[in-house]
Every structure is written in structure tokens, then in C-alpha cells.
Assembly symmetry: C2
């Protein structure tokens, strides 16, 4: 059942232990899967181990395709468009400066350094771009510059971005009810919501992602979406899309933001229906190819080959920085326009703050089109995924920051206190450059 749990959410699977520090739990230090064959106690296998629990998580975030079937997001076959870097000595100086920055964690009592925050957050990869140039880049744990990392719920933001592009092009109409776009949805509770409500996660649907509740719908969803053969006596829905056809109502559409991953996968279905393309092919065509990505990305699939639009993507750190650059530059990268500026402007403007609550580290926030908007002084917004994934866009500082991580717990609420102030500190530092 690890399929979904892996990648989703704001709530969490309890971590096996939080005792190991980032350094102690480094997968190279533990030695997971080292040796031919590895010793039994260093094996991480799909059938018989919870490969997405800490500390195994720290290895598995770079190896998801070795457990699950995946579909490619193709970069094409040409040369990638390289990112810009300062001279090596400038780059080295910047790294020293940034590593030494200090800040006060949220609700903290003493300042910590930027570099300490990387370890506090079990960072696997951190890249910072300022005014189009890479000013900081480091890899830890399982990640290398040519490796890829599970981006978990940041996948949602790619799905949402694709939807906004289709809206701007008039291919999709966000005022339409879902049942008109996808008639197969039948009498499901989601049928009467609008595409916009799906995009903003304000649908009134019965769905809990509370992993500690064995009756939470997330478990049914996991079973439905598993690409592994179903048990002989299984009678539930098979695939993401069959699951939606039997979702029950809860509350009213449009009333409030509820973080429910089924919205993202429903949006994936909507996108595929109006374009005739899988979300992987669309992401390739609209993003990965034209942005000059240096690596393919990939996305886990269900038993019917449908990509997990709510959490299945694995990608390279620099390609995520290209994606963030596209957002910061409102649709342009390397002098090429990939989508209208209004797409990024609409997302960064944010959603209805009155409908957003329950995230203490984002007190003034909103959620729209599968992106998190901080509504802070810098107008920052982000893609966010469990265990510490983020693409953080700060328009005021002209900064894009991408962090991938394998924090022991899934909830960003634990990770934000040593992250968000760090991002502010580096933004302030870069603005003074």
C-alpha cells in the first residue's frame, strides 16, 4: 500500500524514528542496498518492507522507479539548455556566504545557520537561483547532480500549472461542472463541483488523508491506485479514475480549502480528457522539452497506466529550478515564451484567503491551482510536497529556490520552522548583492 502513502500529503505516516540525524541517517552511511547482494538488514524491497518510512525513506526518495511502474516525461533528444552560473570562484564565495547566514526559526529560541538548516531538514538537494543565475547548489544523501528525487505533492503543482495553461488557451473552462467535462464521473460527489473547485481543492467530498485512521479513505484510494495485482477477493475500484466514480459528498463545494489529493488526480483526468493526452505527455510537450530540461522526469502509474497526478513525479533538481524559473519569469525561459504571463500571474496572486485555514506555518496563506501562496511581503509562493519538497518562488527577490528532502515526518508543519525563515534570509541576502 506504499504507493500512495509515499507521495501524498500534509498528514503523515508516523516515522519509525526521529532519533537519527541527517548525517546518521544518510543512506550512504547506513549502507542501504550496498553490496552484491546487500546484507539482509540493508535490503530495501518493495514486497516486504515499508520502503517509504524513515530511515529507508532517505534511500527510496531517489529510487522510486525501482519499486513501481512509471511513465516517462520526455525531455526529447536534443541538447539541454544549461543553467547560468557565476565564475567558479564567485560561486564558491557565494556558497560560503550563504552557508554562514543565520536566522531565527519560527517559534525558535536561538538562531541557526543556513547550513545547519539543511541538515535539520534532511535536505537531499538545494539549489538557489537569483536573477537567472545559480548562486547555490548542493547535494546530500542519495542525490547527485544527475540523479532524480521524488517530488511528491509538488506533482500537484505541475498538474495545476498545466490546467492554468489550458485555461489561458481556452481549451479548458474552469466554470464548467466536472460532469460536463468527464461524463463518466456519474453520480459521484465530485460531479457537481466546478473545474475551479477541483483546481483549488474546495470540493465538498468525503475523503480523509489521516493515515493514522485505518478507516480513512486514503487507504481505499491506495488500494484502488496500486499498480500491483489486486488480491483475488478485491471488489473495490481499480485505478484512480474508478475511485472518483464512487466518492461521497461531505460539506458544500466551494466553502473551504481541504487538502485532498483526489482533487489533483481528478484534475489530471480533466486535463487528459480535454487535451487527449496523458499528463506525462502534456508535461513533456509544454514544459520539459521547451524548457531545455537536462533529464527526463517520470511519474508512477496505476494498474491502468494512469499517471499519479497528485504525487507521482520524480525529477532532477536543476529541472525543477527550470520550472521555478518559468514561474518567476511568468512563462519565459532562455528567451523563449512557453505560456502566457497571466498563467503565472494568476497563480502568484493566490486564492481566497478566507477559505484557507489550518496551516500554522502559513498563517496568511491561500491555495490556488495546486500552488501554495504565502501572501507575505515578498509575494512568495510555492509548490510543496511531503517530507520537505519545495519549489519556492520569491518575485521580490527575483529568487527561485528548490529543495528536495527526506525529513522523517511527512508534514511540512514540522519542517517549515527551519525552512521558511531560511528562505527569507537568503532572499534578503541576495537582494543586497
Amino acid at each position: 500500500m506504499a504507493t500512495i502513502v509515499t507521495a501524498i500529503s500534509a498528514t503523515s505516516v508516523p516515522a519509525q524514528t526521529d532519533v537519527f540525524s541527517a548525517q546518521e541517517s544518510d543512506p550512504n552511511v547506513i549502507g542501504w542496498m550496498q553490496g552484491f547482494p546487500p546484507p539482509d538488514d540493508k535490503l530495501i524491497t518493495q514486497p516486504d518492507s515499508n520502503y517509504f518510512s524513515f530511515p529507508k525513506l532517505r534511500w527510496s526518495v531517489c529510487h522510486l522507479r525501482e519499486f513501481l511502474p512509471t511513465e516517462v516525461i520526455r525531455r526529447g533528444v536534443g541538447a539541454p539548455v544549461p543553467l547560468s552560473y557565476p565564475t567558479p570562484s564567485e560561486f564558491a564565495d557565494l556558497a560560503l556566504e550563504i552557508d554562514a547566514l543565520t536566522f531565527m526559526p519560527i517559534d525558535g529560541t536561538e538562531e541557526i545557520t543556513w547550513e545547519e538548516s539543511l541538515y535539520a531538514n534532511y535536505t537531499d538537494g538545494m539549489i538557489v537561483m537569483h536573477r537567472g543565475e545559480v548562486v547555490y547548489e548542493r547535494y546530500f544523501g542519495c542525490l547527485e547532480e544527475d540523479g532524480k528525487h521524488a517530488i511528491m505533492s509538488m506533482t500537484k503543482s505541475i498538474t495545476g500549472l498545466l490546467a492554468e495553461i489550458l485555461l489561458a488557451e481556452g481549451v479548458l473552462d474552469d466554470t464548467r461542472p466536472v460532469r460536463e467535462v468527464v461524463p463518466e464521473i456519474g453520480d459521484s460527489a465530485v460531479a457537481s463541483s466546478t473545474v475551479r473547485e477541483v483546481m483549488d481543492m474546495t470540493t465538498g467530498v468525503q475523503y480523509s488523508e489521516n493515515y493514522s485512521d485505518p478507516n480513512a479513505e486514503i487507504w481505499d484510494y491506495s488500494r484502488a491506485a496500486s499498480p500491483l495485482p489486486k488480491p483475488a477477493d478485491y471488489e473495490g475500484p481499480d485505478s484512480y479514475w474508478e475511485y472518483f466514480q464512487q466518492v461521497e459528498p461531505e460539506g458544500n463545494h466551494g466553502d473551504a480549502f481541504h487538502y485532498k489529493t483526489i482533487n489533483s488526480d481528478m484534475l489530471g483526468w480533466i486535463i487528459s480528457r480535454v487535451t487527449g493526452k496523458s499528463v506525462t505527455d502534456l508535461a513533456s510537450e509544454r514544459l520539459w522539452r521547451p524548457m531545455g530540461a537536462e533529464m527526463d522526469a517520470h511519474q508512477t502509474v496505476d494498474a491502468k497506466g494512469v499517471p499519479f497526478a497528485g504525487g507521482g513525479v520524480t525529477a532532477g533538481l536543476r529541472d525543477l529550478a527550470r520550472l521555478g524559473t518559468l514561474m518567476l519569469n511568468e512563462g519565459e525561459i532562455h528567451g523563449k515564451r512557453l505560456f502566457p504571463a497571466e498563467v503565472a500571474q494568476k497563480i502568484s496572486a493566490g486564492g481566497d484567503r478566507s477559505k484557507f485555514a489550518g496551516f500554522p506555518t502559513i498563517p496568511n496563506g491561500s491555495y490556488t491551482s495546486q500552488w501554495w501562496i504565502f501572501h507575505n511581503e515578498h509575494g512568495a509562493y510555492a509548490a510543496r510536497g511531503a517530507h520537505g519538497q519545495t519549489i519556492y518562488v520569491d518575485p521580490t527577490a527575483e529568487m527561485v529556490l528548490v529543495r528536495v528532502a527526506s525529513y522523517p515526518r511527512a508534514q511540512n508543519g514540522f519542517i517549515d520552522p527551519t525552512s521558511l525563515p531560511a528562505y527569507q534570509a537568503v532572499a534578503d541576502h541576495l537582494m543586497a548583492r
Copy 2:
């Protein structure tokens, strides 16, 4: 159980039907997996359909990663080194010339054209290089220039090439018994064979790949190697490597060539043991990166993450042409030497022909280091995989040809009659250029 059957072998899964022509069975014509969702009768899924039987095979050869866990063979993040092409008008002229070439199939009664042979063989991709230049390139069925195709047992030839490179470097000694290199092999029948016997498939081991025999060892091997969760009552070996530990003897080591895939996976284990690297990482380091590959390749894995060294690779057509070029040029590509010339020379010189029998379309052949040597006038040799895969190297004509295909039956014996004379015809034509 499709895991292994998919990719192996000289023997075969009976094809569902041979009635459909290449044009009729084109997956785009049938419409496999088209639509969101596809109609039930157009679904190809892992749990409940034999996705590697014809005509589904014609779709699945390009989509193996969507059914099975895989490990990447990284190309790295830099720019690929492009292949050389003639001018577009020269290229178009060459295509017309080559398409119109005629030849007599083996045991045939009338000549057919080169182009007809492509359809007769259910070709998905064909590229021909002559004196370092691409002179012919076409894609069919599920394959596109930026797509990838299962190469099945051609995987063995990559494994064999890596082993020969290690021999040339003195890292591996092919006179050593397997038990000295991999002590875990225990009392298995393969323990007393030499590395060379494993490389040349002359081990005396009980192992049948006759798919029509339900008691053939291939079925046990498939169960052992499946990456899917094992049934609760399963007590057999789990993984390729555990399987080898209980192989029984049959005949004598060194007596004769027997095409048994377990040798290739045993060779994979040997390679990993002496290098401390997976075959995927080694193929990346020694081949994919330095040859300027334009796409990552990937390789299916067992439940313990071990890549299928006997058949699991999926790769791009042009990258396979780069591999063939490396062989033709005896270790050099794009002016760079990747391995000593003796590696390719040893392979192309061939193995002991007196030990080779049972392949009517290769009457004078031999098999060495996981490559097939024709011992024909041109000194041609090949990597070969089920359902029509080949990298065909013709040193006399200075030609490399790669064909990937999805012929309804697995056995190349059915495919060679309209293939090998076609390769000779195009070689003769190019030599007269």
C-alpha cells in the same frame, strides 16, 4: 509471470495469432491504451492481461517501464553527441534506394524488397549507419525517435561487452571458477564452471527455456525473478541470484553452447562482484555517458533491485546505433576511445564453432561473450533478442544496422529468413556507394 518471458529467448511463448499483418497490428491502428480512459477492450494492464503476447506486444515493447520497476542507465546531464547525417536530399535519395533493394529470402521462392521486409518483420525501428553516417532511419508502430524499445536479449550482449572490457583491464579473469569469484554460489552446478564458460554459455546446468513445457525451469526462474510480491505460500528462491544457488548440473561444463539466460544473469552477478557496481551503473559509466547517448536507457529489476542482465534493457534506437558504432570502430566513437580494440576484436573473432549447433539460419555460427558471430564473408556479428531485435555489425561493409521489432513469435529463426539476406543486400549496396 510475464517478467522473464518477455525478454528472454530463442524459444517462445506461442503467439496469440499470426493473422494480423504489421500494418493491421500497428498499435496506433488497433488503438491500444488510447482514450481517457481507454475502452476496456483496448486496455493493456499488467495484473490481468498477457501484455507481452502479440498483438499487445506491439504496444508493450515501448512501454515496459509502465508495467515493471526499472533502474536507469544514466546518460548524464550534458549535451548528447549527435550522430552524423548526410544532407537531407542525400538522405532522402538513400532512403528511396534502400527501400527499393530486392533480395531472396532464405529458402524463399521470390524476391522481396527491403521495405517489404520491414513489414514482414514487424519492424518498429530501423537505422543503418555506413562509414560513421546515418544512411537510413525509420520508425514504425509504437516507436518514435525519442521513444525507447525493449531490446530483450540484446541486453546480454551489453553484459558480455562489459565483461570483456573488465577482462581487458585485468579486473576479471575468465579462467577462474565461478565459486572463487562469487563464493555465495555454494554447491550450485554453476559453481565449478569458469567465468569464460558462463560468458560463452557452455555451462553444464539444468535449465530449460522451453515455454511450452510447464515444468521447464524458466517458470521457476520467472517466479524467482518477479518484482511483484510473492504469493504467501511461495517458498522458492527470491531474486535472480538466489535462483542460481540451487541450479542442478546437466552435462559437462565446456562441452557445448546451450542458450540459457541464467548464464547472462550469473555474468551480471560476477561483474557486480568484481566492480562493486550494478550492471546499470557500469553500463552508464563505460558506455552510455562516454558514448554521448541522447537518452537514458533502463533495465527491469527483480524484487531485490537486481537488474535483469539477461534481457531487461529498454533503449533508444540511435543509442543502440552508437553502441554498434563502438563495436565496429573497435572501442572508439566521436574520436574518443572507450575500451581497448582487443575487446571488440575478440568478440568479432567469435567462439568455438564446433560447440555451436541448432540454429538453422546461422549454419556456420558461434557464440562468444554473449554475442552471435555469423562467420560469413563479411565477418558480421550481432547482438540478438527475441521478436526480432538486432544490432548487426558488418566490418567489411563498415556498416552498423539496428533493428527493433515486435514480430509475433519470439524465435529469430522465423525472422532471419527475411532479415539476414536483407542486411547483406544493404551492405553490398552501401559498399558500392
